[in-house]
Amino acid sequence: MEGSHLPSRPTGGLPGRDSQANLADILERVLDKGIVIAGDIQINLLDIELLTIKLRLLVASVERAREMGINWWEGDPSLQAAGNGGGELERENRELRERLERLEQRLGLEQGEESSRAR
């Protein structure tokens, strides 16, 4: 993953405090939770952007848990959210899935010997 690029501190220099909560907590909530209301900006297109980011953030953490047989989130409809739309959305969703698989494979290779214990 591209962890070395992730800033660990807020980068904004504005007056007033930024939230000091852990960034994973914030992104987990603001990216796909909350009531979904179609704003005037083309939300369907944005859905894809948000989902891409989310998948990218998720992959690394999910692998280890899956090894341990922990997979409670897999029935989570929000993670399949992009499949609900029309053909265009489905196509993009399929592409995202393929991208996720490639990412997972790459992750598996990087884990080298560790991956031999996966089930």
């Binding site: 993953m1 504005l14 907590d25 909350g34 009531i35 209301i37 952007e49 690394a60 953490s61 989130w73």
Partner: protein
């Protein structure tokens, strides 16, 4: 371009409930304010279309520093609002062309927003994470078998046996981890008003040490928050032998407990 600013919405509350004012918004020099319609209020701020219009937004969302800055400011506004009123948080990037667009949203969504506000009144969201040191868990799981008889035969057989024992210890640790997560979540779920399980977090973002076995969100009656602290301390004590750590955080914007789209 005459119309360079759009409206970014943070959350919805009942009109008349106190909401933050003059707090910095997601865009520089644009503080938050409210737009009221039909008994509801949207907490909003202005955002320049040059940065938050559709095309710039798609690019900016892929710039991690931009995403972090905006997500943190959005969250900060919600945390302030949460101290003063019951809120329904909106997802990042809920943007309207003008105030009329925001009013239209309040009009069209009035029933679902109102129902969500009713359901959330008097409650707060809390997060509980269960973390373990994997080596400690393996040691705890492997204790009974660790003192097995010395391996007979040559070094090859000893090696194979050692590998087998290691594999068994890891399997046992994994089973123990799943049981541990189940127990902690079951206790909290049965006690809370509602519960949601989320995927474990990316260590690079969360900075946590050890393995995250549980990442749960729980909706708690405001009057029972002290009890929640006690319950978490009790669960931590119960699993201390396994090196389990429970992290409790809140109150949080109730993101996990607003209705999902059908």
């Amino acid at each position: 371009m005459p119309d360079e600013l759009a409206i970014w919405a943070y959350c919805v509350a009942r009109a008349g409930d106190p909401l933050p004012e003059r707090l910095p918004g997601v865009a520089a020099e644009q503080p938050v304010g409210t737009i009221e319609h039909g008994g509801l209020a949207a907490l909003v701020s202005r955002v320049p279309l040059a940065e938050f219009g559709e095309q710039p937004l798609r690019r900016n969302l892929n710039e991690f520093e931009w995403l972090e800055r905006v997500a943190r400011r959005h969250e900060t506004v919600l945390e302030h609002a949460l101290e003063q009123a019951t809120i329904v948080p909106l997802r990042l990037c809920t943007i309207f062309g003008d105030e009329q667009g925001a009013r239209r949203m309040l009009e069209q969504q009035r029933e679902s927003l109102s129902a969500a506000l009713d359901a959330l009144a008097g409650h707060t969201e809390w997060a509980v994470k269960l973390l373990v040191d994997p080596a400690g868990l393996e040691a705890a799981a492997g204790e009974p078998e660790a003192a097995g008889e010395p391996a007979p035969g040559g070094s090859g057989a000893a090696y194979m046996l050692r590998r087998r024992d290691e594999r068994r210890a890891r399997d046992a640790a994994d089973r123990l981890a799943a049981e541990l997560a189940d127990d902690v979540h079951a206790q909290l779920r049965d006690w809370a008003s509602a519960a949601v399980l989320n995927p474990p977090q990316n260590r690079e973002l969360s900075g946590h040490e050890g393995d995250m076995l549980l990442n749960g969100a729980y909706l708690v009656e405001t009057a029972k928050v002290a009890q929640l602290h006690e319950l978490v301390a009790e669960l931590q004590e119960r699993h201390r032998r396994l090196g389990a750590r429970l992290e409790l955080s809140g109150p949080l914007p109730p993101y996990n407990f607003v209705p999902r789209p059908a």
